[in-house]
């Protein structure tokens, strides 16, 4: 896939593989991200993988757009192997009231019984596409077609951290109390912001995610353990 290169100000290069979201474009982003991680060019500060492109930020005192571009082109010529499958991560989720205020609405919109909505969500094939919006907000692809619903017309305020929310083909586990226009179908005690200095975020981009159903009593126990820890 031949990417397009765009200079961003004095300190970054945006490498874009496609205009539209696709598995192959995201695969190319992950492959380049891995290649640059393994062999970073001099002066590179960080890379930011997104849906169809990768940002490469650099120190303009040390290097420039052309040198970064040349290095990226070298990586693209060298990496033909598919990106790694990603690590599998488990996220626990309680779908019981009061943690699933939009379950009924999703049920009404899709014509599925609430229990079928839950089963369809659990059966999803989730992959971490990118982070954005706020710290630890990992956008997961893979919501089953049967329960894909659009965003609400207006966001709801003060949605608690840990909410499991869906919109279209995407799912996300929130990490902060924030507004959202997505549908809230459950609550998770699993910490995405782990508090572990060596591994502060649960997912890497490209990881696979499986949701595991828990009941309200288990949620209460795990959530308390997390808060105490």
């Amino acid at each position: 896939m031949a990417p397009e290169f765009k200079a961003i100000a004095d300190h970054a290069l945006l490498v874009t593989f496609a205009d539209e979201i696709s598995d192959s474009a995201h695969g190319a982003v992950l492959a380049l991200d891995a290649a640059l991680g393994a062999a970073p060019p001099e002066g590179m500060i960080e890379t930011v993988p997104a849906m169809v492109n990768l940002l490469v930020s650099f120190d303009p005192i040390v290097t420039d757009h052309d040198a970064i571009k040349t290095h990226v082109q070298g990586c693209l010529r060298a990496t033909i192997e598919a990106p790694s499958a990603g690590t599998s991560r488990i996220v626990q989720v309680c779908y019981d009231a009061p943690f699933s205020p939009d379950l009924e609405a999703v049920s009404a919109a899709t014509g599925l019984a609430p229990e079928s909505v839950i089963q369809a969500h659990l059966a999803g094939d989730f992959r971490v596409l990118m982070y954005g919006f706020a710290p630890g907000y990992a956008y997961l692809s893979g919501v089953a077609k049967a329960i894909q619903v659009p965003r609400k017309p207006a966001p709801v305020r003060d949605v608690p951290a840990g909410s499991v929310i869906i919109a279209g083909p995407q799912c996300l586990v929130t990490t902060l109390t924030m507004p959202t226009g997505w549908s809230i179908i459950g609550r998770s005690p699993t910490a995405i912001l782990t508090g572990d200095a060596d591994h502060p975020f649960l997912f890497d981009v490209g990881d696979r995610v499986t949701f595991e159903r828990i009941d309200a009593a288990t949620f209460a126990k795990l959530n308390k353990a997390g808060a105490d820890g």
């Binding site: 100000a9 004095d10 945006l14 979201i21 993988p49 849906m51 492109n53 940002l55 303009p60 757009h65």
Partner: protein, 333 residues
């Protein structure tokens, strides 16, 4: 080593603990944060002889009033043109002074500028997140926002009498229009829209915080699809929302977003842009990415020279009086 302590008698909104920021976590949704005006922040630390990036306090137009409950300690205040009052002594930002136990230090909005920095001869005790004390304002992670009534404790507090007095303001920064490189999503705008963005004047709106600065001016309509895939954002990205209004993303920016970015402010112009206030007008001018790199390098050299000069101690009181006598050609008796 000595401790010093302040009670926060008053803190306006968005008065936060900041340091040089935490680069390297954008892939996890975490922007670098750190001081909005990095030059003024660095100058305040340099004026005390602190190491670069030492934690200080960023003061918004809301202002900050501190009551010293344990001291003394020497502090530096830089950035904008804020009003500074220590006891009955009234001065302005760009100054180094010593605060004694029982004294009240107030730093409030003055004639110009949106942000001032308080650096201290000591270490501010505040929470870290991902190894840094910089506050990410939307989450509150890091050192945090100061709250009226709280206590700020400094360890290793010291007196630095050889550093008292005015801090020379930087004069190497560019003035005039804010320099931008167009893109990276300028293809989502008609040519005339990009031309209008580069020729018309915009006003800073009230919607200005650590995440970004919304501008008022001519509408910048998006050509075609609004729903582009979410793409990475940097500090300085000028994002245009569906209603055609541009916002310059700043220290606590989102790391990705689905609105197209018409242009990106070059890093040497972000500190001076951050000091604009609501109601002030500005214009943008286009430069090439190669020129932007050259400007970033010359800015870095200018900044290094400036900070090196500011970080030189002025000497003891006797030495300073002697030097000033010589300079002014009069005799001290």
């Amino acid at each position: 080593m000595a401790e010093a302590a302040f009670t926060v008698a008053f803190a306006g909104p968005l008065v936060t603990v900041q340091d040089a920021g935490r680069p390297g976590h954008m892939r996890f949704g975490v922007p670098a944060s750190g001081a909005m005006d990095r030059l003024a922040f660095d100058a305040a630390n340099a004026a005390l002889g602190n190491e670069s990036g030492q934690t200080g306090i960023e003061i918004s137009l809301g202002g900050l009033i501190l009551q010293c409950t344990q001291g003394p300690v020497t502090v530096a205040i830089a950035g904008g043109d804020f009003t500074v009052q220590l006891g009955s002594q009234k001065t302005r930002s760009w100054t180094v002074l010593t605060v004694q136990k029982g004294e009240r230090l107030s730093i409030t909005a003055g004639k110009a500028g949106s942000w001032a920095y308080l650096a201290v001869a000591g270490r501010i005790m505040a929470p870290e997140w991902l190894g840094r004390q910089a506050t990410h304002s939307t989450s509150g992670f890091g050192g945090g926002a100061l709250q009226t009534g709280q206590t700020i404790t400094l360890s290793d507090a010291s007196l630095r009498e050889d550093r008292l007095g005015d801090i020379r303001k930087p004069d190497f920064q560019a003035s005039g229009p804010i320099r931008v490189v167009t893109g990276p999503q300028d293809q989502h705008f008609a040519k005339e829209t990009v031309a209008r963005f580069l020729s018309d004047s915009f006003t800073v709106s009230d919607a200005y915080d650590r995440m970004g600065m919304r501008l008022k001016g001519p509408e910048l309509p998006l050509a075609g699809a609004l729903s582009i895939p979410s793409e990475p954002i940097v500090r300085g990205s000028v994002q245009v929302s569906g209603d055609g209004v541009p916002t310059v993303l700043l220290a606590d920016h989102q790391t990705t977003g689905g609105y197209p970015k018409i242009a990106t402010v070059i890093s040497p112009d972000i500190d001076r842009l951050a000091q604009y206030r609501a109601g002030q007008s500005l214009r943008c001018v286009e430069i090439t990415s190669a020129q932007a790199v050259a400007e970033a390098r010359s800015y870095a050299l200018g900044k290094a020279d400036y900070l090196a000069e500011v970080s030189v101690a002025r000497g003891t009181l006797a030495q300073r009086l002697m030097r000033e006598n010589l300079n002014h050609g009069c005799v001290f008796d």
